[in-house]
Amino acid sequence: MSDVAIEAIPAVETPLRRFIADYCANRLALAALVVVLVLALLSLLAPWIAPQNPYDLTQISIFDNMLKPGERSMDGNLFVLGTDEQGRDMLSAMLYGLKMSLFVGAASTAMGLAVGVSLGVTAAYFGGRIDAAIMRLVDLQLSFPAILIALILLAVLGKGVDKVILALTLVQWAYYARTVRGNALVERRREYIEAAQCLALPRSRIIFRHLLPNCMAPLIVIATVQVAHAISLEATLSFLGVGVPITEPSLGLLISNGYKYILSGKYWVSLFPGLLLLFTILTINLVGDHLRDLLNPRLKT
């Protein structure tokens, strides 16, 4: 029943266009994508839309500390989500924190992708000893939980945004390397690759024009989910006190700051950054989940 008469297809349907149409068919996923984009935009615009710059000490007053959500300061400023122990506006701190979280997540994923894809393709392309060596390294990396590796790395390296990104890159690359290699090995056996070999096209062209584009789909899914995972991991590391420095707090560090006040019932310092963090991770995961459904060939037709 899959044979559709060609005459009936209205327009030229590129795989990309078909993909976009398929994606938009799921309203929850579409909403999630919109939310992710809005969050990213908000974080980029933080310096302009936040009520205050939470790192400018001249703008914050210690007398405003631990105000409940909706309370006003003595000079009449409204703190919609309350303030922290230094009198910072939580809403502003969260917008800046979101920026930091998204930046660390995206940057580490991008670097992990770059390293992982190159090594994965190299392994699949050359095979033999190089393949074995790279895959041993991947196995070694993957046989230990990411959190532990990152924790130890940061314990050795010390705090810092760059170091967190480095640590998260190091825990991610192996996933990409394994995925790319696994896919390349499967796709390499497909007949269109043999056809390209038969046409005496050079190996580099076969790899980059034929093999790699067909290995990208699962990579996109994993990369999406990994951005969410990296954001979560960064928050966890910051909570444990080995992540970003206090001068540039991420959402995780904001939650961590509020942890001290939980037992006294001052919920807002942890609750709101946590909700934003959850919302961010959740929407990215929803996008990734739908991408997975769309790109999974086994559930198609």
Binding site: L28, R136, D139, L140, S143, F144, P145, I147, L148, L151, I152, A155, V156, A228, S232, A235, T236, F239, L240, G241, V242, G252, I255, S256, G258, Y259, I262, L263, G265, Y267, S270, L271, G274, L277, L278, I281, L282, N285, L286, D289, R298, L299
Partner: protein
């Protein structure tokens, strides 16, 4: 089969050795090990002793062999903070962490598999969609924040459960377990749930994907054509097929649970080895960090090995392919 086990043991040995080398390089070879391994207030006598013991006047490879030798004897130095042997310090905390991890694992298995199978069987109804969306939420919950919120709700606001600590325990073979003492159960609830929530989602998703894929298989259709009841098809044909990957993943996740317990134990002040690690990192108690690393490396490698062997015995295709020669 024998060759397979042998191969896996060889690989495990390689992993342990590689990690030992990494730890050795990062702690011993970079910087001055004396500064790293001795408390800052150590006097000259202690420094000389340590140099002699660690053989720091000898070539690097001799030092590495010494390190390995000490490792084999379970000697990784003394904790600056507690003054006692680092290895036994961590081993003393191991039961608390293991208990937490195993309870969470059991929760994940017995909630996740039925939930995932249910969603898989009803994938196009609101039940399936709700379960799967729920699992994404569980997947996305930042672990530590979830713990904090549980404390806020159940310990602070409702005051149903203690906010942290281990509570009373019962003894078995000289080791302490909360499970053995009902008075300790309230303390276990929140940490175990926090640790389990991510794994429940993971297992649910695995069971869901496995069930959906199994249902599309021809053998399920054939089983229906034989006139089997839905219960038998789901309970035997589908379950047995999806169990193999799930058991594998669960085994591997036990390792990651032990690691992730670092977070949960910190939130709930649970006196396990994870909490000890975080405290040691904060206090720069390096011998404990090194000991923790090496113990966890050994533990993971052992679990991974077990899981691989278990997998090969579970799946007849793998088991017999290797034994067929």
């Amino acid at each position: 089969m024998f060759a397979f086990v042998l191969r896996r043991i060889g690989q495990s040995a390689f992993v342990v050795l590689a990690m030992a080398a990494l730890v050795f390089l990062s702690v011993y070879a970079i910087g001055n090990p004396i500064d790293i391994l001795l408390a800052p207030d150590a006097d000259q006598r202690e420094r000389d002793e340590a140099i002699a013991r660690l053989g720091l006047d000898k070539p690097v490879w001799v030092q590495f062999l010494t390190f390995l030798g000490n490792l084999a004897h379970g000697d990784l130095g003394k904790s600056f903070v507690f003054g006692s042997d680092a290895v036994s310090l961590i081993l003393g905390r191991l039961p608390a962490t293991l208990e937490l991890a195993i309870v969470a694992l059991v929760l994940a298995t017995f909630i996740g598999i039925p939930l995932g199978m249910l969603a898989g069987l009803r994938s196009n109804t609101w039940v399936g969609r709700t379960v799967m969306t729920g699992s994404i939420i569980g997947f996305s919950l930042p672990n530590f924040w979830f713990g904090i919120m549980m404390i806020l709700l159940f310990a602070v606001e409702l005051q149903w459960l203690p906010s942290g600590g281990r509570g009373p325990t019962g003894k078995l073979f000289g080791l302490e377990f909360s499970l053995l003492n009902p008075a300790g159960w309230p303390n276990l609830v929140m940490p175990a749930l926090t640790l389990a929530v991510y794994k429940v989602s993971l297992v649910t998703r695995l069971a869901y994907a496995g069930t959906r894929e199994a249902l599309l298989q021809e053998y399920v259709r054939f089983a229906r054509a034989k006139g089997l009841s839905q219960t038998r098809i789901v309970g035997v044909h589908v379950l047995k097929n999806i169990l193999i990957p799930i058991v594998t993943v669960l085994g591997l996740e036990l390792g990651s649970m032990i690691a992730f317990a670092v977070v949960t134990e910190t939130v709930f002040a649970w006196p396990g080895m994870g909490k000890l690690l975080i405290d040691s990192i904060a206090r720069l108690d390096r011998p404990v960090i090194v000991a923790y690393l090496m113990i966890v490396v050994g533990l993971f490698t052992f679990i991974n090995l077990l899981v691989d062997i278990l997998y090969s015995t579970l799946d007849p295709r793998v088991r017999l392919a290797d034994a067929g020669s």
